[in-house]
């Protein structure tokens, strides 16, 4: 638990809205944002007046590459929600830019806010009254009460198991260090294996593997980005409607920014799918050309899953083949529409191009095959490419941040070993790494180490 450090979080609802707001609050808020904000005027936030709106770009702390075009509101305390210095970054909506800007603030030195933490600060600093604060208590309590969907529950269970595994492996190293420190005589009898480095690298590699699942995890939490593509008039809109009607899902009408192509949300077996629209306006233009440039390409690139529709009643065209070519390497489900009409394309022809990707016959008219498509979509997540149902995934930013920090701590341990520094210096960062993992599953180290010492080693007078 930390107080008065600088915190940051997305303050707009996830996945909606044309604008996303990242709020940074705390004594270093201005300094932190200044590190990643290039103002058009060339000034620093520290130099401009309070309660002003400033135009510029958020850039990557390391590479300096532009992340997004933003408006930044500077509000110096105490005339702010938390009474601390607050900087709000207004960026383009849509999960990707919002999250990237958030990550940039974290890299620049902010800590991810806990649930309700802004409100908590507002209360602690005397900004809001008790009834409002009690609502925060409810939020904090709610964290443990939320009944997660089965799929999520399983995911979290797997994650805990994995993290516990890493903790245990770290504990093996820590216990050896501690025993050699607290029981110097032990060494005399049974030399302790001091080759910590290999082991730590091994653990670190595993943690990095887990970190790489962060996108899969995010997919589960925030929705599988699914693009429906195909040449004009092949039935994209009809398929979209068929999927939605079947599920009585809510079609949200999201005012699109250029990046915001989400058309609708769909829930299959508890897994949210975000259907990205490549239909509509682009019907009137040459689709292949559009795929080559511009927005649909972005949609496809960002898509976790692509549903490629073909018309089974007419021959494969050059357009079809070019689209297929452009989505190579993606997770694809091929859908042969118009199965109610006499078939012209055979399974064999498609398989020649589809490879091992699933192929489903449907009719958007008769709704035949829609169930099978849904099953295929959900199995893509459950056991298909991503192995999420058996493996562990990192599914939220807080976990991701903790894991990144744990990995950084292990990097420091390795650096300490390379520098030839003694074990007690290694221990500092090893304990930190263990602690960061503990932030994911809520376990602390102290007693664990001590009981580990006495279970594993024969100690004492």
């Amino acid at each position: 638990m930390q107080l008065y450090d600088t915190i940051s979080a997305i303050s707009t609802a996830p996945g909606t809205g044309g604008i996303g707001i990242i709020r940074v609050s705390g004594k270093d808020a201005i300094e932190i944002v200044d590190k990643i904000f290039k103002m058009k005027s060339g000034k620093k936030l520290a130099e401009v007046k309070s309660h002003t709106v400033n135009y510029g770009h958020i850039v990557d702390l390391q590479t300096g590459q532009t992340i997004d075009e933003v408006l930044v509101m500077l509000m110096k305390g105490p005339r702010t929600f938390t009474k601390e210095d607050v900087v709000e970054i207004n960026c383009h909506g849509g999960p990707l830019p919002v999250e990237k800007v958030l990550m940039a603030t974290l890299e620049a030195g902010a800590r991810l806010a806990e649930a309700g933490e802004f409100t908590q600060r507002a209360f602690l600093n005397g900004r809001i009254d008790l009834s409002q604060a009690e609502a925060v208590i409810d939020v904090i309590d709610a964290k443990t009460d939320i009944s997660l969907s089965q799929a999520m529950g399983q995911l979290e269970g797997n994650l805990s198991k994995k993290i516990k595994e890493y903790q245990d492996e770290l504990l093996q190293v820590i216990a050896r260090i501690e025993v050699s420190i607290d029981y110097p005589e032990y060494d005399l009898d049974e030399p302790i294996d001091l080759n910590y480095k290999e082991e730590i690298i091994l653990i670190k590699n595993k943690m990095e593997d887990l970190l790489s699942t962060a996108d899969t995890g995010k997919m589960i939490r925030e929705g599988v980005q699914t693009a429906i593509i195909g040449k004009p008039n092949v039935g994209k809109s009809s398929l979209l409607n068929a999927l939605l009607e079947e599920n009585k899902a809510i079609v949200t009408d999201i005012p699109g920014t250029t990046r915001d192509l989400v058309e609708a949300y769909l829930n299959i077996d508890g897994i949210p799918f975000k259907l990205l629209d490549t239909a509509g306006i682009r019907e009137t233009e040459d689709l292949v050309e559009q795929i080559g440039v511009g927005l649909s390409k972005t949609a496809i690139e960002e898509a976790d899953l692509v549903i490629m529709i073909l018309d089974s009643s007419s021959k494969l065209t050059k357009e079809d083949l070019e689209i297929i070519d452009s989505i190579k390497g993606k997770n694809i489900i091929f859908v042969l529409n118009k199965e109610d009409l006499p078939p012209v394309i055979t399974r064999e022809i498609v398989e020649e191009h589809a490879g091992n990707n699933p192929l489903i016959y449907i009719s958007t008219k008769s709704k035949n095959g829609i169930d099978e498509l849904k099953k295929t979509m959900s199995s893509f997540v459950n056991q298909g490419k991503t192995e999420v149902s058996t493996g562990a995934t990192i599914a939220n930013v807080r976990h991701k941040e903790a894991l990144v920090k744990a990995i950084q701590s292990l990097d420091k341990v390795i650096e300490t070993i390379d520098l030839g520094m003694p074990e007690d210096c290694m221990a500092i960062d090893l304990h930190d790494a263990y602690g960061y993992l503990g932030m994911i599953i809520g376990e602390t180290i102290k007693e664990e180490i001590i009981s580990e010492l006495f279970t594993r080693f024969c100690l004492g007078k």
Binding site: Q120, A133, M421, D424, G460
Partner: protein, 635 residues
């Protein structure tokens, strides 16, 4: 029949390591003090191992010394072997350990007590205490003498209702055949104090004359000695040293123990007290680590004027004949003569969560508790608590705030905080792994951490304090000088670097930067460091540690900063936790029992979650506002 004896400021019940430090501290702070012991010959007695210090315990002794306590000085006077442990590891875990001449240690400590102004020592058993209005009033001896007092310190060690077990034989005695205290427990319970029962043990002592030491590995002390006390130099403590010896158990030893396990009171269920994981009997070791084919045994001399040797590693409560047979399986001990038989001891102690961080009972003003009576183990842990209670009893009488060392300031802080906040379900042993800020809490800088506090309290005199200030200034000055002194990449410098197996310089560098390289020593740069002042070994040591471990030390300081923020969020002692909306039941119970003084402490109580802490923080804010409003209303 009772009678009123003399009135005193401070009464100390018990004359072990805790009692001695408590009595000396109180008397030295000007309080009229009396220390009771059941036997004047067992003052500062070491009923178990004949050494002081060791990992983390050595740190405690140096901290005791930095605050103005006696243990460090007394062992410096009476040690017969000294060793700095862990020198191959980092400075944070270097630990000093000395073998004591037990009898000299006792004699010397008694002499110091006898010659301390304001202090009386008296052989008597305290059987009851009087409390009025939640305040200690007096103590009563078995002979009926009532000693009215302003404060009292309970440091009864392992004597309360103690009984010793060897095999099936039970002796209702204290350690080493001394009388146990059979009445005080009940008196304490009657006053509402919660008592728990612990267990520990000690191995046998054997005659050096009956052992063939040539069959064992000699373990000598260090050539260069480091004193425990910051008041001593190496020259002050130089002397001839004795040897310890290393031997091993073997298959025959293990077979014998296994065959006789049913005779151990531990395994037959006779013993109910909770034993310590870190102090297993040899029976325990063999059962729990069945695959180990041998265990270490150290033979340590108990003094210069005795042939008794302590057999470290063979703590046992097996019947005497089995113990003897067991010893005889060890090469060199075939003809061993056992002089004292090992035993397990069960005793009553106070559940330490009843105490404040000052070690005062929460419900009894002016009544303190220290040492093994608080569930700790070890001479050093006891002495540390004793010193703190002696100081706090004196401060209490003067109406001053207690001295509380926090976890970032010393092992003493970690020890007391762990005891009073978390409690313990086995005798608590200090370990370096219990300290979060280990790199800051080194044995070499105990004076830098604590001597200003000792001075402020009044246990450190002007002269010593001035010397300390001078040392501190020299360290700062030298660090600054090294930062500001640049040397060129001259041939002489490159030559030195080559000799130290370091990379050569491309351009000039500060001495500080060069010394940061692990392979470059302070001595190595001497030829090119023209303005180097003459400094003591201790100053150079501090400078080099600060410099070489700068990055790590800085990180620990940042952690401490975070820690302090929560420690400084004080919780009022009259909070009714039941009234706080949002706390979980388990948290309410725990908070109510422990009554933490700060948010930081609350967060260390097991059963109090981060969510509970958030709720407390909010409550605290509200409480502060309400108080401010009240003040406003009154104006």
């Amino acid at each position: 029949m009772t009678y009123i004896a003399e009135s005193v400021d401070v009464v100390v019940i018990g004359g072990g390591h805790a009692g001695c430090e408590a009595a000396l501290a109180a008397a030295r702070l000007g309080k009229n003090t009396i220390m009771f012991t059941m036997n004047l010959d067992s003052i500062a007695m070491m009923p178990c191992n004949p050494n002081i210090g060791g990992t983390s315990k050595g740190h405690l002794v140096r901290e005791i010394d930095a605050l103005g306590g006696e243990m460090g000085k007394n062992i410096d006077k009476t040690f017969i072997q000294s060793k700095m442990l862990n020198t191959a590891k980092g400075p944070a875990v270097h630990s000093l350990r000395a073998q004591a001449d037990k009898h000299e240690y006792v004699k010397e400590m008694k002499r110091v007590l006898e010659n301390t102004p304001n202090l009386q020592i008296k052989q008597a058993e305290i059987v009851d205490i009087n409390i009025e209005n939640d305040q200690i009033k007096s103590v009563i001896t078995s002979l009926g003498a009532i000693y009215p007092c302003k404060a009292a310190i309970l440091s009864a060690g392992t004597y309360l209702n103690s009984r010793c077990l060897t095999g099936q034989h039970v002796e209702y005695s204290g350690p080493d055949g001394l009388k146990s205290s059979q009445k005080l427990t009940k008196a304490l319970e009657d006053k509402g104090i919660e008592i728990v029962r612990f267990k520990t043990g000690t191995p046998c002592r054997v005659s050096k004359n009956s052992i063939d030491l040539s069959k064992m590995e000699p373990q000598p002390g260090d050539d260069t000695l480091v004193p425990f006390s910051f008041e001593n130099t190496e020259v002050d403590i130089r002397r001839e040293q004795e040897l310890c010896y290393l031997a091993y158990t073997n298959q025959a030893t293990h077979d014998l123990i296994r065959d006789n396990l049913h005779l151990s009171p531990m395994y037959s269920g006779e013993i109910e007290g909770v034993g310590a994981r870190y102090c297993p009997s040899i029976e325990d070791k063999i059962v729990r680590f069945a695959d180990k084919d041998r265990h270490q045994i150290f033979l340590e001399p108990e003094g210069l004027d005795t042939t008794e040797m302590y057999v470290q590693g063979l703590s046992s409560s097996l019947p005497e004949d089995v113990q003897i047979k067991m010893l005889k399986t060890i090469p060199g001990m075939e003809n061993v003569e056992v002089m004292r038989t090992g035993y397990a001891i069960e005793y009553d102690c106070v559940n330490p969560t009843q105490l404040r961080p000052s070690l005062e009972f929460k419900n009894i003003k002016g009544f303190y508790s220290a040492g093994q009576t608080n569930g700790s183990s070890g001479y050093e842990e006891a002495a540390a608590q004793g010193l703190i209670t002696g100081i706090n009893a004196a401060l209490y009488i003067d109406g001053k705030k207690p001295l509380i060392i926090d976890r970032s300031e010393g092992y003493i802080g970690v020890l007391i905080d762990d005891l009073v906040i978390k409690g313990t379900n086995e005798p608590y042993r200090m370990m370096t792994s219990r300290a979060e800020y280990r790199l800051l809490l080194r044995q070499d800088n105990a004076d830098l951490r604590l001597t200003p506090k000792g001075y402020e309290v009044g246990l450190i005199g002007e002269e010593r304090y001035n010397r300390f200030i001078e040392k501190r200034e020299l360290i700062d000055k030298e660090l600054k000088r090294l930062k500001n002194t640049y040397i060129s990449n001259s041939n002489q410098v490159q030559e030195i670097l080559k000799e130290s197996k370091s990379t050569e310089l491309r351009s000039g560098a500060s001495l500080f930067e060069l010394l940061k390289r692990p392979e470059i020593s302070y001595e190595a740069l001497e030829p090119v460091d023209n303005e180097r002042p003459k400094l003591t070994k201790e100053v150079v040591e501090q400078v080099m540690i600060e410099l070489k471990y700068e990055g790590y030390i800085k990180r620990q300081h940042q952690q401490v900063e975070q820690f302090k923020k929560l420690e400084n969020k004080k919780l009022p002692q009259d909070i009714d936790y039941k009234e706080i909306k949002g706390l979980r039941i388990e948290a309410i119970q725990k908070l109510d029992e422990i009554k933490p003084v700060s948010i930081g402490q609350a967060s260390r109580i097991s059963g109090v979650s981060p969510a509970d802490i958030s709720v407390l923080l909010m409550y605290l804010e509200q409480w502060g506002q309400r108080k401010a409003d009240l003040v406003k209303d009154n104006e």
